[in-house]
Symmetry: C2
Subunit: 585 residues, 2 copies
């Protein structure tokens, strides 16, 4: 089957950016004043072209030929290097950076939409610039002028790449248990210098032969006076640890191994040993013990992008299975025994699987772009709070339901979808990572219920509820959507009551956090679909608008009702799982 | 992590066979009189040993080194041959065949339990005997004495293997569109002889270098007098087409290709061209145009075994992730910041993921063994009807929820679970096939709602309801289970009402068949869990019994409520999916 036009349709991206998120109003702000709808449409068009030509073209090959470790260094497929130098040459690394730092001054929402297209084409190749961009952003925000110039700017230019080094073998989800050690080693133009020792696990882009240098951002602990490491996450500090030092010498970083994954294979994932010899040199970012707070900026950024990537894979699977279903002839309509076979897209069950993919894929893409849009409008303090609230939802829902969408894309292809001759099985394998990296679903759920609900005054929740109410008010005016609006209002009231119960629960409130997040995810996405349906009533293409309207109806009929079951389960404060005993399992 | 003891615990198998299904009462029947609990326990023990030593030992290797096509013939990993000759040597091919045909006269339920263990160890290797057994059974049931002797007996001995050849590239789910042609070519000792031409797709075990010969059972059409092929599935006849003819010559069957799959890789899956030269020789089984009815015997048999395989993969993932969660230290209990890290099995979310796996894995294993038990008790006509009713449920629910269980097994392993150093990612890839082969989920749903509900008098449904009532009556006597019994009774009443509505629906009743089957699947499994919980109250080990009781409670609290949402969706007769238009998607 042909891969042509299997990426995210430009029409979908433009609907989301302009008809829905009113991205054109951003151009009135001074920082985006050099852009217009025309420049953005040109960038989207260029994105689609480069994604097709340079990223999609090696999708299967980079799955078949994995990065390898040779003489202590990682080699990746040359096509990945070529794609990323084209990407750098066109300035995409710098897309959302301001012009004065050599960037394009694009709104974050446009930059995110562009990333989604590259991720749809080849998520493993797109992972390198995703991390690089987030790394450069962190340094730009928290680093000194000299650090920015030395370590962020080459990344903005796409000459150097970046990583984030958090996990260690004994410290995956539990960052408090990081044992990497940073010992003071004087000061120089780049700031306070340290010698680092330790082992870092799961480092995406930990080594490669693409970029001139790699900037590792490393979480480590500075020992106390008794030379013991401080306990807890409060003891973490952040360091810039480049692969090649400013004097041209190699830093003391060994590649101890490379992980062989089920998917996402083009992204070299490494185990790094820091300081096997004299200690790896690193410069501290900001003050000691501020590492986790700083890293959270990069992590939250990455979480939205993980969600975007998951949504992008779902979009491509949806595209491929829609084309396949339109071309594959099999069977006849119910009750008809003779005559030619019909395209399987005519079978009700296949239509349902496509509609399911549509609500999962487009729903998560929309939510992630909404989050990016909040970054652009963060001159309002509400935007920042709402972004923090929605980040775990966007990361988790897109990862969980994006995978389900890819599962359905395989199912529509039947036996063919299970073979490596088609891309859908690879999309499925690639997407399986997204519920794991940058914080598993379970970790997101504890963050969401613990930090964003229980330990919050209710401020974030109310800001979100106000946005939902706004959407419902718009929907009230439409005879097709007003019923959905009242269902959504009732659901929000139910959710508010559940939150009330959890807030007054003495223990065990977090035990069913994952079920709670799942329920909230469905409610958030029903709000997104209702908002999309309101916007779709204003678009010119009736076909396009009808499609959005039908997807909204499907989500309210077929998906949202399950959220009530999950809310009931949470509010019952059941301990059936949490009280179970290991040896009875 | 160690693979030791990662198979299905013998204690679980023995609970299901003896405490639950009263398998010992079968030994009173003359056909099973040579067996006792002791002989069966010895067979289970031997199964576990051979599965560990010969099947599990090449699980990863057979994923890495796929079958290859060399000089027109398929070569498989030598370890697969070795495992299957041990399997043959011990008589497992013959397990459920009567002693007079060289079998062990084992009850089907024991044979199925033994198969599940081999599938847990290596489903791709276990697929060869699974198909062989089903092939030999079909010939034994419908073939002539001479056909049985010539083509079934060598399979019962495990010297020859068997396949089922249904699909063609243009005829996957739609068997009416089969174009393979069988032209009469006289008669000989093996029966009416034909010359076959056509292409058969997705043939598992279509070629290999393990067995002395391969017996293909091929669906094809005998042309009418005008030399056109009859239309529809009624035109299908069934033929025995051996790879090597009785005179030692090679039959006219070419291996046109081998499929490269996401998982299940040890099972060579081929595209066969029949009759590239003078026409492949085949002998008709039974009468012309009876092919589909005969093949349904093999297909239904295979469907239960697909469900069993899916359950077995889920059981192994459950086992592996339980061990991993007991050994992996990460984080601390809620609210505790210092001290040593705890095993992740202590975290509520991990407990929930294990309990979910338990209800999916053990629930589907139990349902599939219940189906096998119905084969053993088919002297009652109810058993046969109930088996037909439950087959699509067992096949589909086990495949869909077995995969979800394997997804959770990966999630518990975190990043490690996504690497090929651990088996859980392979279990997940292997299991993804099960919702596709032997009839996709969508096909099962139409079979279930169309044939077993709407076109049935209600007889099958009522037989099943009677069994559910029996279970509820037992549960009434227990203070822990009586609430669940009344929930289940109400659910059955709700289901009965939904069936009533569907029966009087003029069109579109089948449009949401998949949602209906999903709902019924959950209700069937809640009945199974309640029945298991009743049986568990009688077992000696309190730990074991508590575990079953808790799983039952979890299923009723956390899973069954969703079935009501699905039933509501079905009874609303929504056309939101079925009325959608291709170009609006």
């Amino acid at each position: 089957m042909s891969n042509a036009n299997s990426l995210i349709p430009d029409s979908t991206i433009e609907f989301l950016l302009f008809d829905w998120l009113d991205t054109h109003t951003l151009f009135e702000r001074p920082q985006f004043a050099s852009h217009s709808r025309d420049t953005v449409e040109a960038i989207i068009e260029l994105t689609t072209q480069v994604a097709n030509e340079e990223f999609l073209s090696h999708y299967k090959k980079s799955d078949q030929i994995e990065p390898s470790l040779e003489d202590g260094r990682v080699k990746v497929l040359p096509e990945i290097s070529r794609a990323l130098s084209k990407y750098a040459e066109l300035g995409f690394f710098a897309a959302s950076f301001p012009e004065e730092s050599g960037g394009m001054s694009l709104p974050e929402v446009v930059s995110a939409a562009s990333f989604a297209q590259f991720a749809a084409a080849n998520i493993a190749t797109a992972a390198y610039p995703m991390l690089t961009r987030a790394n450069a952003r962190l340094i730009t925000k928290f680093g000194t002028e000299r650090q920015i110039q030395a370590f962020a700017e080459p990344q903005v230019e796409g000459r150097w790449f970046g990583t984030m080094c958090l996990s260690e073998t004994q410290a995956g989800s539990s960052l408090a248990d990081i044992r990497s050690r940073a010992v003071a080693d004087g000061e120089d133009v780049y700031g306070a210098r340290y010698r680092l020792t330790g082992n870092k696990m799961w480092i995406s882009g930990g080594d490669q032969d693409i970029s001139e240098n790699i900037v590792h951002l490393v979480l480590a602990k500075i020992p106390n006076a008794d030379s013991k490491l401080p306990s807890g996450t409060n003891g973490l500090s952040l360091f810039i640890v480049p692969k090649v030092l400013p004097d041209g010498m190699m830093n003391d970083i060994a590649i101890a191994g490379i992980n062989h994954k089920m998917g996402y294979r083009g992204t070299a994932n490494c185990l790094l040993n820091l300081g096997e010899r004299e200690g790896a040199i690193g410069w501290r970012v900001g003050q000691p013990r501020e590492g986790l707070r700083q890293m959270f900026q990069m992590m939250n950024d990455a979480r939205i992008y993980v969600g975007l990537g998951a949504a992008a894979l779902a979009m491509r699977g949806f595209s491929l299975s829609k084309s396949y279903a339109s071309e594959r002839l099999q069977g006849r309509a119910q009750g008809i025994r003779d005559g030619a076979q019909i395209a399987i897209i005519e079978h009700p069950d296949v239509k349902r699987m496509l509609l399911q993919q549509k609500v999962y894929a487009e729903g998560s893409l929309a939510l992630c772009l909404y989050c990016a849009h909040l970054v652009d409008t963060n001159d309002s303090p509400d935007s920042d709070v709402l972004l923090g609230f929605l980040t775990p939802v966007a990361k988790t829902w897109s990862s969980e339901y994006g995978l389900l969408a890819n599962d359905l894309a395989i199912q529509i292809h039947g036996g063919y979808g299970y073979t490596r001759d088609f891309d859908v099985e690879q999309l499925y394998r690639d997407n399986r990572l997204n519920a794991i990296h940058e914080g598993t679903t379970g970790i997101q759920a504890i963050d969401f219920l613990g930090r964003k609900i229980l330990r919050d005054s209710g401020h974030a929740f109310e800001i979100w509820c106000a946005r939902v109410n706004e959407t419902c008010s718009h929907a009230d005016a439409s005879c097709e959507l007003s019923d959905n609006a009242s269902v959504l209002r009732n659901t929000i009231n139910e959710l508010r009551a559940v939150v009330g119960v959890l807030k007054t629960t003495e223990s065990g409130a977090l035990d069913n956090a994952t079920v709670f997040l799942r329920a909230v995810g469905h409610i958030v996405i029903s709000w997104i679909w209702l908002d999309l349906a309101c916007a779709a009533q204003r678009v010119e293409s009736q076909e396009f608008g009808n499609g959005i309207g039908r997807a909204c109806r499907f989500f309210f009929e077929s998906e949202l009702p399950i959220a009530h079951v999950w809310l009931k389960e949470v509010v019952s404060l059941t301990d059936v799982a949490s009280a179970s005993v290991a040896n009875e399992l």
